[in-house]
């Protein structure tokens, strides 16, 4: 099984310095695990792909378990999609993994979708776990939904899958891996710069909407909406018998729907 992993030039969330994007390292772990268990006769291979002017700290991915990293060199303002499409088509990969969205670039998360469209492959979003499907040539993807729920999808390969931060943590960094791994540099064919019609300014955080009662609610309701999450203001039982306390707790939990009704 040949797996390609798209690596983007990220920036660290706090320091803003160039760094790999954490979710892409998680994707690398999923890929490495899948290649090991599902390698089959030929043994699985994982190849990292990066399109950009410099490889920079993306070599860290080698330390996290990547064997081979391909750097498609292109100017910073060029559109990476055509070069990546060409490289992915030429590589004949069964599975292409990508992060959910970049962190440090445009950060739209649109590139995997345009690649999937250009390659004519199905795309699945938000994988938290990957396993070979029951049939040959299929992949079972556990898609992360909110609150720990999952959806198991079976898709026919080749496919493109984006990875969710709920996936298992990246493999620990090993310096020997970094030394062992290879970086291959290729010059990408020149492409037109991506159209850029946005104006950019320094970021200014905007106030988030606070919980608000519907318009026309009474003052008491507005106050309640603003403070209900911050204060309990509920029931207080002082020194009840343990049985009584237990009954109260269960009744309360049932009323809130947190445990199954009797």
């Amino acid at each position: 099984m040949r797996i390609a992993l798209l690596l983007s030039a990220g920036r660290h969330r706090v320091s803003g310095r160039p760094a790999p994007v954490p979710v892409e390292l998680q994707a690398l772990r999923l890929a490495a695990d899948l290649a090991q268990t599902h390698g089959g006769q030929s043994g699985g291979t994982v190849t990292g792909l990066h399109a950009g002017p410099e490889i920079g700290p993306l070599t860290d991915a080698l330390g996290h378990g990547l064997g081979h990293l391909v750097h498609l060199r292109m100017p910073a303002e060029a559109d990476p999609a055509p070069a990546l499409t060409a490289a992915l088509e030429a590589g004949g990969y069964d599975l292409i993994l990508a992060g959910r969205s970049g962190q440090g670039g445009e950060d739209t998360g649109l590139l995997p979708y345009t690649l999937a469209r250009a390659l004519g492959r199905p795309i699945l979003a938000d994988a938290a776990a990957l396993a070979p499907g029951a049939e040959a040539g299929t992949l079972s993807v556990e898609q992360a939904l909110g609150r720990g729920a999952r959806r198991r999808l079976v898709v026919r390969l080749p496919a493109l899958v984006t990875v969710h931060p709920a996936a298992p943590a990246p493999l620990p960094f090993a310096f020997a891996g970094l030394r062992r791994g290879q970086v291959e540099m290729r010059e990408a064919a020149p492409s037109a710069p991506a159209p850029h019609e946005v104006e950019e300014r320094p970021y200014r955080p905007r106030p988030k909407l606070i919980a608000k009662a519907a318009a026309g609610a009474s003052a008491a309701e507005r106050l309640k909406a603003a403070t209900v999450a911050a204060s309990g203001g509920g029931k207080l039982l002082v020194d009840p018998a343990p049985e009584e306390a237990a009954r109260e707790i269960l009744a309360h939990l049932r009323a809130l729907g947190l445990i199954a009704p009797r």
Partner: protein, 397 residues
């Protein structure tokens, strides 16, 4: 000032008791008609008093039948019905695709309606809701037109194809999506399919400009609203105030063939396995819990996710991954059940977003007790077995 001028002589004259040799005034009697109503604060308080609570509690919201002592002169204005708005000939259409999990609009979906109304009302446009199944709340949420998508089950590719057909044929000026897992996925599929410009995760929106964060939240991008937009949560207020007609429209969607998706199956969360950040209900132990085996049994019996305060994690009694708080995990859970936790500020930060908190603690003055919706001042070592016994009794028959 519209207030009538006070005339003390007239007021006094109104209290005059007729008859008798000397003029007599009964000041306690209510003057017959002065035009203005007189407040009786004591009676109002009696009305607002909530019966059956140990401490005196007043409910001034007047949800209880408000029978005032003095007869109300002016009739109370009837609850103003929401204004009905009909847009017969829209200048353009602003479409939106709510997630509507289980057929009900989420808070994010309602904010999406607010954004769509903002764009539509600026130029006499109408809001078109593209939904899987129709529901009654759409009119009140702000939809002028409703179009049902021919989608069954989980098939985002087919949905994107249907949306693409509608986008081309109906000449939609904007299509709005929530920037949620499902909505964001769909928006990007449609953007890749149609090749239209797409603006992801808009954080502010007006008919002239939308903004979003980029380059690791260091840069704000700004442009005129493009055709496809996804909206971040809690950015725009939901629509309120007017009722729209939610008129169903017909559209012939092209037939779609099955995609590469072979099967889709929903797996509910397994509380014992989910990470704390994702958990829905967390049962957590602090330094006041010494019997951790009972605690673990209780967590399993309640179907919660185990958590702990830093004291237990530092002592090695619970794994570090279970730590709740500023230096552990900040919870998104709906319910939090704290056993023997004092509620240090660092810990309370972790539960700031929990809606319902239950606390068991021996100390009446613990901060956790103050924070809790149901607070029980008791020994956790006795309450835990009692809970287990009760759960066992219920499960037995």
């Amino acid at each position: 000032m519209s207030r009538p001028r006070k005339d003390p002589r007239m007021e006094r004259a109104a209290h005059l008791v007729p008859g008798g040799a000397r003029p007599r005034f009964d000041l306690a009697a209510t003057p017959a008609t002065s035009g203005r109503l007189r407040r009786d604060p004591r009676a109002e308080e009696r009305l607002a008093l909530v019966p059956g609570t140990l401490r005196r509690r007043l409910d001034r919201s007047q949800r209880a039948p408000a029978v005032s002592v003095v007869a109300v002169a002016a009739p109370v204005e009837a609850e103003a019905a929401p204004r009905r708005v009909v847009i017969a000939e829209p200048a353009f259409l602003v479409a939106l695709v709510p997630d509507a999990p289980g057929g009900r609009l989420s808070a994010h979906d309602r904010q999406l309606f607010g954004a769509a109304r903002l764009l539509a009302d600026a130029g006499g446009g109408a809001v078109l809701a593209l939904v899987d199944g129709s529901s009654e709340e759409l009119g009140a949420a702000g939809a002028d037109r409703v179009l049902a998508l021919p989608i069954t089950g989980y098939d985002p590719e087919a949905k994107a194809l249907a949306l693409n057909a509608a986008l081309a044929a109906l000449d939609l000026r904007h299509v709005l999506f929530p920037e949620s897992a499902e909505g964001g996925d769909l928006a990007r599929r449609l953007a890749a399919l149609s090749g239209e410009p797409f603006f992801a995760g808009a954080e502010s929106l007006s008919p002239k400009a939308v903004t979003r964060a980029a380059r690791g939240r260091r840069v704000e991008q700004r442009r005129a609203p493009p055709r496809l937009l996804s909206l971040a949560i809690d950015a725009i207020a939901p629509h309120a105030g007017s009722l729209h007609e939610a008129l169903p429209v017909e559209f012939a969607f092209p037939e779609t063939t099955g995609g590469a998706l072979l099967s889709a199956e929903f797996i509910p969360a397994d509380p014992a396995r989910v990470s704390l950040a994702e958990a829905d209900f967390v049962v957590s132990a602090g330094n006041g819990v010494s019997d951790l085996d009972t605690f673990r049994m209780l967590v399993a019996a309640l179907g919660g996710t185990p958590g702990a305060s830093r004291m237990l994690c530092d002592a090695g009694l619970m794994p570090r991954a279970a730590q709740v708080g500023a230096s552990g995990t900040v919870l998104e859970a709906r319910g939090y059940f704290a056993l023997g936790i004092a509620g240090a500020p660092q810990h309370l930060q972790g539960v700031a977003r929990c809606e319902h908190v239950i606390a068991v603690n021996t100390d009446l003055h613990a901060a956790m007790i103050e924070r809790a919706g149901l607070a029980i001042v008791a020994d956790a070592q006795k309450v835990m077995p009692a809970l287990l016994r009760l759960l066992g009794e219920e499960g037995a028959p």
